[in-house]
Amino acid sequence: MKSTLLTIAAAATLTAGAAAASTLDDVKAAGKLKCGVSQGLPGFSNPDDSGKWTGLDVDMCRAVAAAVLGDAEAVEYVSLSAKDRFTALSSGEIDILSRNTTWTITRDTDLGISFAGVNYYDGQGMMVPANLGVSSATELDGATICTNTGTTTELNITDYFKQHGMTFELVALENSNEVVAAYGAGRCDVFTTDRSGLAAERLKLADPDAHVVLPETISKEPLGPSTRAGDEQWNKIVRWTLNALIEAEEYGITAANADEMMGSDNPSVKRILGAGDNDYGAALGLDKDWAAKAIKAVGNYGESYERNVGVNTPLKLDRGVNSLWNQGGFLYAAPIR
């Protein structure tokens, strides 16, 4: 119902309201950033017991809010289903979508949004009850599968089964909790989503250990933040905030030592932090210490990762491909210079 309203609202906003001014101006004028997040995905975007949103994707919003407004708390979170997220962004209900969203060409070109980078490299996996005795996805012919609607997941799984000459039944639900409930109740034999999502959602199951994730990774899921199409400046602000967090890790800048590092004599560090005469913020429409503010608010990428999804969190996700490029991973941020 909410989604119907949202869709209609989206269509209405597309028809009404003059073309928006720059998002940066709007955000500054409002004094807060409207950030689209999930309906609750532990580790990525999830409200804690006191209702405060936390997670890797939430940190992205906090970092942008810190860079733009100087206050990481100046964020208004809008909880969105996978299905509603793009209309919410393209219609202006949110300023940034940071919600485990896969960067694909269709989304980047057809949905009125633009991606700003990747903050988690993922791939789609499948989970089954251990007692099914299944050890490979190729044994799943005839299975009933539960997943979220409006995702790349539902497309990939269709491709995969087709490619392997297998048939299946798909139960596509809007709310993740409903997906978990359906899977838990035996409506489905398989639960499929991003591997990170499986790690997070399985925590919601009655007995997480009674389920196994199959070895196959059936797709590439580069997850990252996106902004409304047609506002290049705003897109760049988000992109470079993400780059700054990754570069900060590379150069050892942390939330704790950022102030002290201002005095560093490494020119890369000085450029990131805007120390001395360095000012890369002006061209973005921001203060010269925009990146320093972001790093001080959420820490560098590595800090944010370990705090939210790393091996010491319930998700227990190894850095793996999400390590820096010089440590065998994919994270390779364009330099701030």
Binding site: M1, L155, E169, E178, A185
Partner: protein, 413 residues
Amino acid sequence: MTTTNEVDQEPERTGLAALVYDSKARSLFFQGVLAIIILAMIYLAVQNAAQNLADQGKEFGFDFFDRPSDVQILTTFGTWLIGYVPGESTIFDVLKLSVANTLILAVVGIFFATILGFLMGIMRLSNNFVIKGFATIYIEVMRNIPLLLQIFFWNAALRLIAPGPRDSGTFVPGLLQYNTKGIYGPFPITHDGFYLTVIAVIIAIGATIAYGKYAKKLQESTGKQSPVFLVSIGILVGLPAVVFLITGRPLTIEWPNFVSEGPMLRRGFERGIGSYIAPEFMALFLALTTYTAAFIGEIVRAGIQAVPRGQSEASEALGLPGGLTMRKVILPQAFRVIIPPLTSQYLNLTKNSSLAAAIGYPELVAVFAGTILNQVGRAIEIVAVVIIVYLTISLLTSMFMNWFNNRVKLVER
């Protein structure tokens, strides 16, 4: 203009003044202004939409209809009707599939909600304390719990009572079995020559109607009553049965196949054998039917109470039994009051079926305005199509109900 009768002798006015004082011209003028304002607003909205679309690099158009749809959709009535195959079927096929799913839910829901609603409405007027109490509680409870909650309730309840995915339970003895994955029943497979039986059924229906008319005429002219019911049943069953047997029984029934051995994943009911109802459909059907029936019950009660007491007293005085009084005297008069609000309940049920998205039943809003919108991103086009579809369904329903209303309207002799 000091006295009223002077109005009659209004002075002749000419030119503009005449127009200003001419009520027809005046109303034309204001209607024209209103029309221009509305047109200007539409123009502005379209203009804005075009601008916003251009800003986002989008174009308006329905070319996406021919694109292939790459997503698997839950097997339901629509899948069977359209023959949907992901990757081969187009997005237009998805539209057809989802409309079919909306319609089947609406039609089945309306049918059973009407029966249950009439039952509850009549029960609520019963003199029997228990029957009346039951109907009252039913109506009050159902009307006052939000529908979405009821949908979730039925969905969860069905899962709770249903046997696990690798077990089987009896839903309707000898006919339907079920588990958490759905309800399984027989599926008729027709062979060459079956069409003759279908023709026989059509002829039998025609014959029954003709006989009914004849019997009515006979009763009107001679007062003689004919065994209409028995004869009708005889024709309806007998004729098709004879044709069916003569043509060599061109129909086999495929029963669901329950597998209880082998790999775990293969156990349970085999997919694609027999007929199948998704549990999501069942949950929605139960929720929409029981919810709408409560409102229909109230409408029926009000309709019956609107018929003056004298009518039933007169009928009683004539010696007509209670049931006949209800059927022949009260209900026909009550219908006049019942039908208009009943129509709007039918429309409500149809529109409420869009709540199906919450539990994953692939109807219009869930699939077309959801999954597809997400893949092609044409919010304006898709919302426009959805509005047109609902509007069409609503208008057709209203037209049918108006026709029905005219038919059952009291014909005063």
